[in-house]
Amino acid sequence: MNRLLLFVIMVVCIVFDGCKHYSPPGPPTTGEIYRPVYAPYADVRTVQTLAPQPLKNAGKIYVKDNYLFINEVGSGIHVIDNSDPQNPVKLSFISIPGNHELSVKDSTLYADNVLDLVALNIADPRNVRLVKRIENAFEYSAYPLATNVRFECADRDRGVVIRWEKASIENPQCYR
C-alpha cells in the first residue's frame, strides 16, 4: 500500500515537475513587428463610382469583351474601354475598400470588399450599382502577410483590419 502511495506521489511529482519546465517555443526574436490598422465596419462597406483615377499600384487584371479591369491594390477597380488596344481609355474608378480580386459574368462584377463579397451591376461603368452584398464571405484578417514576424493581435471588436503597418511595440503577443 505504502509502495503504491509512494509510486503515485512519484508520478504526480514527475508530471507536475514536467509541467513546470514546459514552455512553448519562443517567438522569433529577430524580424519586424507589425500592428493592425483598423477601419470602422460601416466605412468600408461602401462602393462608389468615381471619375477616372491615376494608376498607382496595379494588381490583378481582368478582360471582359472590350473592357479591361485593373485592380488598384486594396482600394478598387479601374474600368478601361479597350476596344482599341492601341488607345485604351479610362472610363471610371470603382472605389471598393480592401479590394484585390474580381471576376465578371454578363454585366455583373464580383469583388471582395474587405470581409464581404459584392455583386455590382456594371452595365453603365460610370454608374455602377451594388446589387448584392454577402457579408462575412471572407475570413477576418488576423495576421500580416509576412512570416517570422511578431505583431499586435487583431481585435475584431475594434473594426476591420485594412492593412498592417510596421511599428515598434513592446512585447507584442502574436507571432507567425
Binding site: 491615376p54 494608376l55 498607382k56 499600384n57 496595379a58 494588381g59 490583378k60 487584371i61 481582368y62 478582360v63 471582359k64 469583351d65 473592357y67 479591361l68 479591369f69 485593373i70 478601361i80 479597350n82 488596344p85 492601341q86 488607345n87 485604351p88 479610362k90 484585390h100 480580386e101 474580381l102 471576376s103 465578371v104 459574368k105 454578363d106 454585366s107 455583373t108 464580383y110 471582395d112 463579397l117 455583386a119 451591376n121 446589387v131 448584392k132 454577402i134 464571405a137 471572407f138 475570413e139 502577410l145 509576412a146 512570416t147
Partner: protein, 247 residues
C-alpha cells in the same frame, strides 16, 4: 424533327467547346490572370482563401448564392479553370478538382513540389506551373517552370523543369507561353513541343507580374503599369500601348 434539332444544337455546343480555351466553357464570363483567386466556370463563381475553396451559384448573375466550402489546407494562392477541372496552386503543390457537379468540387489529385509561390495554368494534356522564391514564399533559391503531364488527371507527372529567374504569373495560348518574370522581365516561349520548350523573346526591361493572353493580344501587369502587345506575328511581340502608373 425536334430531336434532330436537339442533336444539331448539341453538336454546335460541342464544337464550340472544341476550341479549348479556358473561357469557352463560360459564356458571358471574362478572363483573369493566373494569379487570380476568383474565377468563373459555367454558372459558378469559385473563390480561394488561404485555406479553402468557396463556391457561389451565379445562374442568376445579379444574385450570387453562397454554396459549398471545401477545405484545402494551407498556403492556397491561385485558381485556374480548364474544361471540367479547377487547377489550384498552393505553396506546396497543385490540386486538381473535378467540377462536373459545379456546386460540389471533388479532389482528383494533388501534385506536390518544393515549397514556393506557384500559379498554374493548363492547356491540352499539360499544366504549366511556375515555382518562385521570395520571403513570403518560404523558398530562398528555387525558380523554375515545370511542365506537368496531366493526360491522366488522377496522376499528374513532371515532364520537364526549366530554370527561371523569378517567375510570377503565366499564360498560355496555342503554341505560346508567356511568363512574367517579375522585376526580371517578360519571357515569350514556344511550347509546340512541351518536352523542349523554346524561348522566342525575352524583354528584360518590362517588369511583369501577371499576363492575360487573349485573341492574339497579351495584357501584362507590373509595377510600372499595364502593357498590351499583339502576337499575331509568331516571331515577335508588337507593343500596342502602355498605361503607366502615376509618377
Amino acid at each position: 424533327m425536334k430531336s434532330t434539332l436537339y442533336v444539331l444544337l448539341t453538336l454546335v455546343v460541342l464544337m464550340a467547346c472544341e476550341k479549348g480555351s479556358s473561357d469557352s466553357m463560360s459564356p458571358g464570363a471574362g478572363v483573369g490572370g493566373s494569379t487570380a483567386r476568383f474565377t468563373i466556370s459555367g454558372n459558378t463563381l469559385y473563390t480561394v482563401s488561404n485555406t479553402a475553396l468557396q463556391t457561389y451559384d451565379i445562374s442568376a448573375s445579379d444574385n450570387p448564392k453562397k454554396g459549398a466550402n471545401v477545405s484545402l489546407g494551407f498556403g492556397v494562392e491561385t485558381i485556374f479553370p480548364y474544361r471540367n477541372n479547377l487547377f489550384i496552386g498552393t505553396q506546396t503543390g497543385m490540386f486538381i478538382y473535378d467540377i462536373v457537379q459545379p456546386g460540389s468540387p471533388k479532389q482528383v489529385s494533388l501534385y506536390t513540389h518544393i515549397q514556393s509561390c506557384d500559379p498554374v495554368v493548363a492547356q491540352g494534356n499539360y499544366a504549366y506551373v511556375t515555382l518562385r522564391s521570395g520571403t513570403t514564399c518560404r523558398n530562398t533559391a528555387f525558380n523554375s517552370l515545370d511542365v506537368v503531364d496531366i493526360s491522366n488527371l488522377s496522376s499528374p507527372k513532371l515532364l520537364r523543369s526549366y530554370p527561371m529567374k523569378n517567375p510570377h504569373g503565366l499564360g498560355v495560348d496555342g503554341t505560346f507561353l508567356f511568363v512574367g518574370e517579375g522585376d526580371y522581365g517578360l519571357r515569350v516561349m514556344d511550347i509546340s513541343d512541351p518536352t523542349s520548350v523554346r524561348e522566342i523573346q525575352y524583354f528584360d526591361s518590362v517588369k511583369a507580374y501577371d499576363v492575360i493572353p487573349t485573341q492574339k493580344r497579351l495584357i501584362v501587369t507590373g509595377p510600372d503599369g499595364i502593357y498590351q502587345y499583339g502576337y499575331a506575328d509568331r516571331t515577335q511581340l508588337k507593343l500596342l500601348s502602355k498605361i503607366a502608373v502615376a509618377p
